[in-house]
Amino acid sequence: MGVFVNYACLFRLLLWANALTFITAVNIASDATELSGDRALNRPSSFISVPHAFQPDSFRQFLTLGLSDAFPEDMEGTENCLELLSIFGQRYVTLANCLVSYARPVKVCQNCYTDYNNFENIYKNISSDQSGPGNVSCQDSLLWSDRLMLLPSLYSGLRDIWESAACTNCLTAYQMNLSNETLNFLAKLNQSLICFDKYQQGNHSELCKKCKTAYKQLDELYSKMEGNKTLCIDIEDAMNMTRQLWSKNCSSPRKEMVPVIAVSSFMLFLPIIFYLSNYLHSEQKKRKLIHPKRAKSSHSLMNIQDKFS
């Protein structure tokens, strides 16, 4: 029952307070439900395991206490909408929790896509223009009826995160599953990492030699995927880490210092020879002066000197 009270408080906040409080509420909520581990494996179905105490009924009951006292006619016939609102809240919490748990190292695309799909579905439901029972469209009452417009901004926040992570690149159509390419990459990545681990203790040069083929294959695959634009944040991050790991151990040294410097200093030497030889051997260009016809040409320059002195 303590959980219920907790949730009740939270949704009171959701309705009356701003987005910031809501996010803190999400954190508390995720603590309360103790969600951890590989969620994608734990919950195969798209529906969320809602704590049984938290049902739309009790939520509505609570709402009628708070809001509908003041505006009885506003809330009439919007039970459907309130239900949608509560589902939105749950799914938001689940998605946010998933994102945070896989933030570092980044594995959000692999693990949160089901949550994201659910979240997007509910938002689409709300914003679709179907009027429910009682001929009231939830779109207006839930989304746009106040200055804050909390739901759209919450939605667009998560959508922006999802889009900038470019997760769709790693998923199949409609984001139903991880794409084959991604799975392939993950397998190759695993190979390389295992190899790295194996030779970590020993000589670095040995690591460089033994793991080179695996690493090069991985690198090639990555370059290919980069060209295809099938990269998402998970793959980029994994590759970055692997590259750093590799470069820390095996980096190519500067071997050709002398030839490079020699060639470039030779090149620098050329212009000096060129200009010097030109200066010494080329005949200087001379211009012929013309004495213009002037009425008092002898005076004119003298005049200038005179008047200025």
């Binding site: 470039s264 212009p271 200066y279 080329s282 200087q284 002066l289 002037r294 009425a295 200038i304």
Partner: protein, 783 residues
């Protein structure tokens, strides 16, 4: 007045002038006469329509005409009320004496005070605009709150008609005040004022249009009419106010207040005043719309007939200052703390910093120009064979590549690759996988892309060493490259050098000083550095500001960019000219600048002109013409045509003929004798001249037989019968102005009986220039 009236009234007096006009009108007089009788104020002479000036003459007591005609007012009349401004300088003895007494320093001071006045104009115009804005806001606020309260009061109890009446009364009262002050005190202040300012800039002296009283009435009037709820805007009056402010400030006194500050006395004439008024109008536009460039273009559009570079730049300065003042005062008034703190932090540390950057840009630009000047002289003297020039270009390319490679090779500056792929060709080299060489992004790229990445990449993209080495090498490479025998521009390289050291400046700044890094966006400093460097090299001002503002799409940078460019230009000009001017000079081009060199009024046309002039008679022997044209020593192009009076050896000027025309005439053998013998020959038309244009055959390709040499040519049909002439005493600046404004090629100098004494051409004028020790004269060289 009566004199003028008589001169202009010829069109009205039909009977007396009939005889005079008959030859002019080629017998079409009857028709016109009828039209005139029918009473219309317009009649046609050929294609020209003449406007009747009768209305104003009607007020004169003219005994010749029995009864002045009266017609209702319409748009086809001109009023005698308006006179012209004296834009031309009167170069009398007193003027010359004053110029002689004035030192070089005196001229500098005048120039500086012009700038000061433009600054003041900007400040005052901005302040007036603020005043109008604020008072209108206050008055309208009071009005609306009173009416609102009233409406709220009567909505409950009924009687909204009283509110209606209140509103009507309030509006009428405001408008009444506005209308009374305009009609009783200063009728010229009615309307937007733009027509009057257009007239003034066009050169018409509109009475009382730039008086202090007009300004006061205009400002109060516009406040009243806007507050009175009329459908009017305050922009037009703001432009007018700017113009009045300019006219007042530049004169240093007010005749309305009878107060003389004894300053700016030199500017008390129409020439100078109108320049300032155009600056004021521009400042007004920019204050009204927040658009400094728009203001300059307004003045350009309306006053374009008298325009030069320095004036444009001063006008732009006034406009910028006016916008800046307006924004500053308004943000203080509205208490916008964020904007205000931005502006103040700008004023306190950024503007001085930018000015420093401008000075650095000017110095570096001057160094660039000086090095390039030496290099170009060397190239002209020693590297003039084509094979050498090709070799040189290839060598520069090779050295550029090898230096770039060495720099990239030795650099240790590695940055992680970004997903957004701002680098087109990231080079890894010795960096770890997933990183790229930052030095390579600057060298291993087209310069345009490098500039873009220097402007836009976030802080930390480049480290100090990279930027420093890049600036240094690229500076010398660019300097070395400009002037090669390849088609290549200097804009992007200068921008690149400037952006690199500007960014370096921006990166260093927060490290070494107290300034917070959030203010010092390195991209902004890169932009300022680019502006400073480019300004220091090419010394363009207005256009460059606009180019950079438009390229970056950020108008708020306009003011700092202008300051940077100005500083760069001033500092650079102290050492050496702009790069383009240097190259024009080195190519020995007779280039005419905007104005004649200062303090050159004492030089007259007699000293400037080339003196014995080759003239042709109106009826000239073909042999003589052939001989003159074939003479390779003299490459004359225009020949004055004279008529020989009996008993004198030199005749009076009657026209000017060009070499090209003579060649066409000779080619078609248009000789007097032939015309008599072969009447069927086609008459030469303008088309024949056009066909030959622009590559007229050389004189050597024309063959004239010995018989034909004795023939005569009649030039009167083909010469320009009214060439521009000046008397011998005309001063150099005047001749210069004629050349520059009319685009002349030949200017004939005549004596008091219209005899040709000399000819002024472009080379005669271009040889005078201001050197380090006053006026200098250049030599003429062959080819």
């Amino acid at each position: 007045m009566a004199n003028i009236a008589k001169k202009v009234s010829w069109s009205g007096k039909n009977d007396e002038t009939r005889g005079e006009r008959t030859p002019l009108l080629n017998g079409s007089e009857e028709v016109r006469y009828n039209r005139q009788l029918s009473g219309g104020p317009i009649f046609h002479i050929g294609r020209l329509s003449t406007v009747d000036l009768e209305e104003d003459i009607a007020t004169e007591e003219d005994p010749v005409r029995s009864r002045p005609k009266e017609i209702p007012h319409n748009e086809k009349l001109l009023s005698l009320k308006y006179e012209s401004l004296d834009y031309d300088n009167s170069e009398n003895q007193l003027f010359l004496e004053e110029e002689r007494r004035m030192s070089h320093m005196g001229f500098r001071c005048l120039e500086i005070s012009r700038w000061v006045i433009c600054g003041l104009i900007g400040v005052f115009t901005g302040l007036i605009a603020c005043f109008i804005d604020i008072v209108v806001e206050k008055l309208a606020g009071v009005k609306y709150s009173v009416v609102k309260k009233n409406i709220e009061m009567f909505t409950e109890v009924g009687g909204l008609s009283i509110s209606l009446l209140l509103w009507v009364v309030l509006n009428s009262a405001f408008v009444m005040v506005g209308a009374i002050i305009v009609t009783c005190f200063e009728p010229i202040a009615a309307g937007s004022g733009i027509p009057q300012i257009k007239c003034y800039l066009n050169g018409v002296k509109v009475p009382r249009v730039v008086r202090l009283k007009t300004l006061v009435v205009k400002v109060c009037g516009v406040i009243c009419s806007v507050a009175g709820g009329l459908a009017v805007g305050k922009e037009g009056p703001m432009i007018h106010s700017g113009a009045v402010v300019a006219a007042g400030v530049s004169q240093g006194r007010s005749t309305s207040l009878k107060k003389d500050f004894k300053i700016f006395e030199y500017f008390r004439r129409d020439t100078e005043k109108r320049d300032f008024v155009s600056a004021g109008a521009a400042a007004g536009v920019s204050a009204a719309f927040g658009a400094p460039v728009g203001g300059v273009l307004f003045s350009l559009e309306e006053g374009a007939s008298f325009w030069n570079q320095m004036l444009t730049w001063r006008i732009f300065f006034a406009s910028m200052i006016s916008t800046f003042t307006l924004n500053l005062v308004l943000s203080v008034y509205h208490n916008k703390t964020t904007e205000l703190s931005q502006i103040i932090c700008c004023l306190l540390y950024e503007i001085p910093l930018f000015i420093c950057m401008g000075a650095i840009g000017g110095l570096l630009g001057a160094l660039f120009n000086l090095l390039n000047y030496w290099l170009t002289i060397f190239r002209i003297r020693y590297v003039h064979r084509p094979c050498l020039q090709v070799m040189e270009a290839m060598m520069v390319a090779a050295v550029t590549a090898s230096v770039s490679f060495a720099m990239i090779y030795l650099s240790n500056d590695c940055k992680p690759l970004k997903m957004d792929n701002s680098e087109e060709y990231p080079l890894q080299l010795f960096c770890a996988d997933g990183e790229y060489n930052a030095m390579a992004t600057t060298f291993f790229n087209t310069p345009e892309r490098s500039v873009r990445s220097l402007f836009h990449n976030p802080r930390g993209t480049y480290n100090l060493l990279t930027l420093g080495f890049f600036t240094l090498t690229y500076f010398f490479l660019a300097c070395w490259t400009y002037g090669l025998m390849v088609s290549a521009g200097v804009f992007i390289p200068s921008l690149l050098i400037g952006a690199a050291w500007g960014r370096l400046f921006g990166v260093l700044l927060p490290n070494k000083t107290f300034i917070k890094p959030i203010w010092a966006d390195p991209g902004k400093y890169a932009l300022m550095g680019a502006a400073a460097q480019l300004g220091g090299i090419v010394r363009m001002t207005l256009s460059l500001t606009v180019i950079l503002v438009e390229a970056t799409g950020n108008v708020t940078y306009g003011f700092p960019i202008m300051l940077v460019l100005m500083t760069a230009k001033i500092v650079g000009d102290y050492f050496i000219e702009g790069l383009y001017d240097i190259h024009i000079k080195l190519q020995s081009v007779p280039f005419l600048h905007w104005e004649a060199p200062a303090t050159s009024h004492w030089l007259t046309a007699r000293e400037v002109m080339s003196s014995p002039v080759t003239c042709f008679n109106q009826l000239e022997k073909v042999g003589t013409i052939m001989d003159f044209l074939s003479n390779t020593a003299t490459n004359h192009n225009g020949f004055p045509v004279i008529v020989q009076a009996s008993g004198e050896q030199s005749g009076k000027l009657c026209g000017l003929i060009l070499r090209s025309q003579l060649i066409v005439l000779l080619k078609h053998k248009v000789f007097v004798e032939r015309a008599h013998s072969r009447l069927h020959q086609r008459k030469l038309q303008l088309k024949d001249f056009r066909d030959a244009y622009p590559r007229f055959p050389p004189i050597q390709s024309i063959h004239v037989s010995q018989d034909e040499r004795e023939c005569m040519m009649d030039l009167s049909e083909f010469m320009n019968p009214t060439p521009y002439t000046v008397p011998q005493e005309t001063s150099l600046p005047r001749v210069f102005k004629l050349f520059r404004a009319l685009g002349l090629r030949h200017l004939v100098v005549v004596d008091d009986v219209n005899k040709v004494v000399g000819l002024v051409t472009r080379k005669d004028l271009a040889r005078y220039h201001m050197g380090k020790h006053g006026l200098e004269e250049l030599h003429l060289a062959q080819m």
